[in-house]
Symmetry: C2
Subunit: 362 residues, 2 copies
């Protein structure tokens, strides 16, 4: 998608397949910086420090990490060692293990001297597949929006979509999952407006989603996570679209903490609630969301916020502030599970499925 | 309640009735500062800038604002002018108009030369009534907690109460509304633990509720506003108690933005949800919450956060940071309405009432 009128992906290989470049997402929206990743070890570091983040993107990043490894050493030993290193960089991420596993299987079946060439080609394929899946999600989502948009045309009002966290192009190679239908609708000339929940504690909504929508020129308004329910009660939300870290076989949606509250509010106001995910995000091995272990992240994420300094002669510089008393402690569950009964549909690259029909896309 | 072992109220008159002093709540928890309010205009400013905030407290503050007005000029014209100024300082809370109306009625019936004396006496009475009401709310709420606490004793676990925003002693003259039962339970030796939602955008939970619970020694944990629903799904919340800015005749609860989302989650997990309010917070003139004007506050409250600086050689100093891109705008509705169907009961100084029986406390 566009950054200051130039087209970017979140990750791309050097033309001669000697290194990889990525957008450093720890710097956004404070600075737009490209990082050159020159070794498999550097790629593992980029993943673990969240310079690249988002389930689909870290899968692709790990695939390129394997390609960098084959540049270093095409031996069986090194192949196994690099795979282990990359999988360990975010051990809970399913897409990571999936992408590395796919690379290992293909490379083991390839003569040593051809492994470097094969690895770069396969990593590029995985990246292209991600883009194609996200574009297909965008088109299926666009149909949903178009159908609902008719009412708004009559009322001469924008079509308001609420999203949570960041499931945009920054979380993928390009286009995004939850934001892909929104970009498609905007580009098709529909009058869409996005309510962006800031998504405490890490503010991926206010930091990443707002930034990428602004860069692409999509009208949007940042709100606190508290405000979504009220806007729905007031008739100011026409559809909710979120991404997901994992969807279970019954259609339960595990996503960023706070998603469940928005789903409850959408249900209460009879507003359609969709999760947009490529099918590799569906975990067919899990019958329901109760079985998902919820990651408890560091309490410091709740107690501290990073932003642009606004006073004290440090204007515009990056500054971390503590936002609770030293005497108090904090808890920080990172995800929650939205029960399938609150989910209108799952938007995938194979179509839109009600939770009870999700098996049809298996 | 106590601040570093000294007893404080949030507001008190000078012994010679020449000015009023208040705790400046915009400085908490970063600094504990007392502000001297010397005119009705200064009191309107203290209310609109939220140096004093919380429905019960701004009622009392406005009453003292009328007393300050009578110190300035005891005429009918000035009485009407001061009343108008004070009522306009915050639109949503009913207590403000109630307290000012009560002052105006009494003062209109008082000879001009006695108005100053009468005004200070009546404002003091309103403050004492607030304290007595909050203590009674604490006792009625304590009974609810004691009854439910039996289950926790058997399970040998703390009794977990979730609250939102600040309805503690800082929101009143003393004791608080939602926190009054919690202080009563803690002081009675019950093992209570409080989940404190940070309450973006102004963080009154993380700033004020956490601060006052810490000062009083009540065990508590700060969470993002996103986390409450997940904790309820996990069985980690036994009761929700919030305050309210206004309760309508049918039991709809208008409170800080985000309250509605917690009520939905409590209902979904079959957890009792109470609003604790003195009866002056009940607006008998309004049949339901749809008719309440919701205050839209400045977008800068969403886009900026204040905290203690943590780096750049400015450690511990107060610093404001911007937390969204300059290119994005924000919306900031300050309150929402929780429908009576989600409310288990209203805890008042006259007892606990199910919404459908609320008229019994009229």
């Amino acid at each position: 998608m566009k950054v200051a009128d130039l087209h970017y992906r979140t990750i791309w290989p050097d033309a001669r397949c000697k290194f990889v470049e990525v957008i450093d997402q720890t710097k956004l929206p404070f600075a737009f910086e490209i990082v050159r990743v020159q070794s498999s070890e550097q790629m593992a570091h980029a993943i673990s420090t969240m310079q690249v983040r988002g389930a689909p993107l870290i899968g692709v990043a790990a695939a390129y990490g394997m390609a960098l490894a084959m540049l270093e050493d095409e031996s069986d030993d090194y192949l196994a060692q690099a795979a282990e290193l990359l999988i360990a960089s975010r051990p809970t991420a399913v897409n990571l293990a999936w992408a590395v596993g796919r690379m290992v299987t293909a490379l083991q079946a390839t003569p040593h001297t051809r492994r470097n060439f094969t690895a770069w080609r396969l990593a590029a394929n995985i990246a292209e597949e991600d883009i194609a899946q996200n574009q297909a999600i965008g088109q299926y989502g666009l149909e949903l929006i178009k159908n609902a948009y008719q009412n708004q045309l009559i009322r001469n009002k924008p079509f308001n979509i609420l999203t949570h966290c960041n499931a945009g192009w920054l979380a993928t190679v390009d286009f995004g999952t939850a934001l892909s239908p929104i970009y498609a609708a905007h580009d098709a000339g529909l009058n869409v407006h996005v309510w962006v929940g800031e998504t405490r504690p890490r503010n991926q909504g206010a930091f990443l989603t707002a930034w990428e929508l602004a860069q692409h020129g999509v009208p949007h308004t940042v709100i606190t996570d508290n405000a979504g329910g009220h806007l729905m009660q007031q008739g100011l939300v026409d559809m909710v679209i979120v991404g997901a870290d994992r969807v279970t076989a019954n259609g339960d949606v595990c996503n960023k903490i706070g998603t469940y509250l928005k789903a409850l509010a959408a249900f209460d106001s009879n507003i359609p609630f969709y999760a947009a995910v490529p099918t590799p995000t569906i975990d067919w091995a899990l019958i329901s969301g109760e079985h998902i272990e919820i990651e408890e992240r560091h309490a410091g994420e709740v107690g501290h916020i990073q932003g642009w300094a606004q006073n004290m002669g440090t204007d515009g510089k990056l500054q971390t502030v503590r936002v609770m008393p030293l005497e108090s402690s904090a808890a920080n569950p990172a995800f929650d599970v939205t029960p399938a009964r609150l989910v209108t549909g799952i938007i995938t690259e194979k179509g839109v499925f009600a939770p009870q029909n999700l098996h049809e896309c298996k």
